[in-house]
């Protein structure tokens, strides 16, 4: 192995280490993988002796984040040699708590809809988020996947913190969306 290559691998490791990444995955999201990630994180939280409340919140948010990646993945931005749409998931633990970080490509139009939704949610108080959840649940509309737009609201509700997010637009009509959800201990 060349020195440059070794250095590249170490830099990747080191960057994750410094960001306190507990788990990191880049690739395509399948149901098996989703189940495995949930199991790994659940075991780790048990080992860390987290309180049941924090454990449940992290688990719930992770389920929603992973299922968002599973259902809403789009990749118009295609590199040669990569056929399956690819996503990134990271779970980090720092002094104040945990962070669940995801990244995926979306069609620009869908990204715009999502951006409006996230702005709306972030502009609300916790009580307003709870009321929004209840009214979206009660309106009876169900999307094809069953969620009916509750996912992000639930993530915001369980996190209790403002959602951090961003979009990088690409020239081909796609946008890279990334989300950072914090759960304080």
């Amino acid at each position: 192995m060349t020195l440059t290559k070794i250095q590249e691998i170490f830099d990747l490791y080191d960057s994750m280490e410094r960001k306190n990444i507990m788990l990191s995955f880049k690739g395509d999201m399948s149901t098996d993988l989703l189940t495995s990630i949930l199991q790994i994180i659940e075991n780790k939280l048990d080992r860390f002796g987290e309180s049941p409340k924090v454990k449940k919140r992290i688990f719930n948010i992770l389920v929603e984040c992973l299922q968002n990646l599973y259902h809403h993945i789009e990749q118009p931005y295609k590199k040669v040699g990569s056929d399956a749409p690819s996503v990134i998931v990271m779970v980090a633990k720092n002094m104040s708590g945990y962070a669940i970080i995801t990244g995926n490509f979306m069609l620009k139009n869908n990204a715009d809809v999502l951006k409006n939704r996230l702005e709306e949610i972030n502009g609300m108080t916790q009580d307003e988020v709870k009321d929004l959840y209840k009214s979206v649940l009660a309106d009876g509309k169900m999307s094809e996947k069953g969620g009916g737009g509750l996912g992000m609201i639930d993530i915001a509700r369980k996190s209790g913190e403002k959602l951090e997010y961003g979009f990088i637009p690409f020239g081909d009509g796609s946008s890279f969306f990334s989300l950072n959800v914090k759960v304080n201990q």
């Binding site: 389920v63 299922q67 069953g146 509750l150 609201i153």
Partner: protein, 127 residues
């Protein structure tokens, strides 16, 4: 009619619906990717049960986790029970939650606010 029994998995709950005792139980985790497929037999069973309901139907909900994809399906289950109540029968939901799990208690309260059935919040030390 035949009772409904579904074994639980790491992503789906154990389901046990008994038309004779009129006691129904949904217990465990409900986090499947496609909840509509999972809940269809339950909703269908309740449609049939609604034609011959017991005098008092009790649904025990004892969920450790549920995803947002399940939440609308669970609402559908409650709506079926609400119709049975409207037909003049007694219907109760016993919503179990672990004592430190305020999120699960709040989730039960949300359903209680939306659905016109008696909800009893049952605090359990640990499932």
């Amino acid at each position: 009619m035949e009772n409904l029994k579904i074994e639980g998995t790491t992503k789906t709950p154990t389901v046990s619906f008994d038309s004779e005792t009129a006691i129904m139980t949904i217990k465990g985790r409900s986090i499947p990717e496609n909840s509509i497929d999972f809940y269809k037999p339950i909703v269908d069973w309740l449609d049939a049960y609604a034609t011959i309901p017991g005098e008092k139907t009790v649904l025990n909900m004892q969920l450790e986790y549920f995803n947002t994809s399940s939440s609308k399906c669970i609402l559908d289950v409650f709506k079926k029970l609400e119709n049975i109540k409207k037909s003049g029968k007694d219907v109760q939901v016993h919503w179990h939650y672990e004592e430190d799990d305020e999120d699960m208690l709040e989730a039960g309260e949300d359903y209680d606010a939306i659905i016109d059935i008696d909800f009893e919040m049952v605090r359990v030390v640990e499932f």
